[in-house]
Amino acid sequence: MTEPHDPRGNLVRPYAVTRGRTEPIRDIPIEAVLVAGSAAVQEARFAGHDKYRIALLCEPKAQSLAELAALTRLPLGVARVLVADMVADGLLTLHSAAPRTGFSERMDLLGRVLGGLRKL
């Protein structure tokens, strides 16, 4: 089933793919990355077109919520609802964004980012 290209843009209302839900079941930061194992990708075949596309993108490499939204051309809020569902269903593993509390945890992360930038 191919979707006809429409120069006027997407005629499906953005939240139709989430069945009208606009609130994710958990908040996911835009930079948090997600990974899918190959078993999960097989399972995601039956979870719907968009969820399957998301799972496929997360199999070869970790992708952030922002990347998933951009690569699937879904609005950020829609992608967030779908991804949160997939995490709850065990189709995606959610990794953590940078720690926001704890002096040594934050200093460690900043130190690692600094080292990474200097090596660029």
């Binding site: 930079e31 990974v35 194992g37 609005p75 964004a97 002096f103 992360l109 980012v113």
Partner: protein
């Protein structure tokens, strides 16, 4: 040993941490150019659908097939290690989309406000925004070829940038220059965190 199976997730590190740095500034100041200079991917665009915030501002009925307005944010990625990824997010340029900035800066390492000396007044609003947020930021003056050259202190004075905010000159097209900006952001974030820690009241970022 079945962990060596074809499941590629088995080769992923157990925990991948991702961090972000926000690149702010007015429309056309070179945010996406800056991101592109160091990103390992072509900068991507993520769109957020404007719903209630756009009500009463945008008349969707005038645009057939378009029920909503979208806000675009460009971003790039630097994979630093198997278990560490840095994302660079450019803020939406148009000022009426600032409600998106709060989400962007939440949990960020720090920010750089990019300034174009030909349009200094465009920098006032982004600078005001960061002055009122708890997020370490610096000012990076993007030196466009045809822009008048100023001394850093002249720019600081013209924009009334507080003394504790680092200011540096850069060329958003050049990798080494952008690298220096990002290193400046992280060093400033570390210095800020240490200072707060010594004062005894660390506050969460964002």
């Amino acid at each position: 040993m079945d962990f060596a199976s074809s499941d590629r997730a088995a080769t992923q590190p157990t925990e991948i941490t991702s961090a972000k740095i926000v690149i702010a500034g007015g429309f056309g100041v070179g945010k996406t150019t800056l991101v592109g200079a160091v990103s390992e991917i072509e900068p991507l665009t993520t769109e957020a659908v404007m719903t209630s915030a756009g009500a009463g501002i945008d008349d969707a009925s005038k645009v057939p097939g378009k029920a909503t307005t979208t806000v675009a944010m460009d971003f790039g990625r630097i994979t630093m290690a198997d278990d560490l990824i840095l994302y660079l997010f450019g803020t939406p340029g148009q000022t009426r989309f600032w409600f998106m900035w709060d989400e962007l800066i939440r949990g960020a390492v720090g920010a750089a406000v990019l300034v174009d000396t030909r349009r200094l007044t465009d920098a006032f609003a982004p600078l005001d925004y960061f002055e009122n947020r708890h997020l370490p930021y610096l000012v990076a003056v993007n030196c466009f070829d045809d822009a008048p050259r100023y001394e850093p202190e002249e720019v600081r004075e013209a924009l009334a940038i507080p003394a504790h905010v680092p200011l540096l000159m850069c060329d958003a097209r050049h990798r080494d220059s952008v690298k220096a900006v990002l290193i400046g952001v992280v060093e400033h974030a570390m210095a800020t965190l240490v200072a707060e820690h010594e004062k005894g009241h660390p506050a969460p970022v964002g």
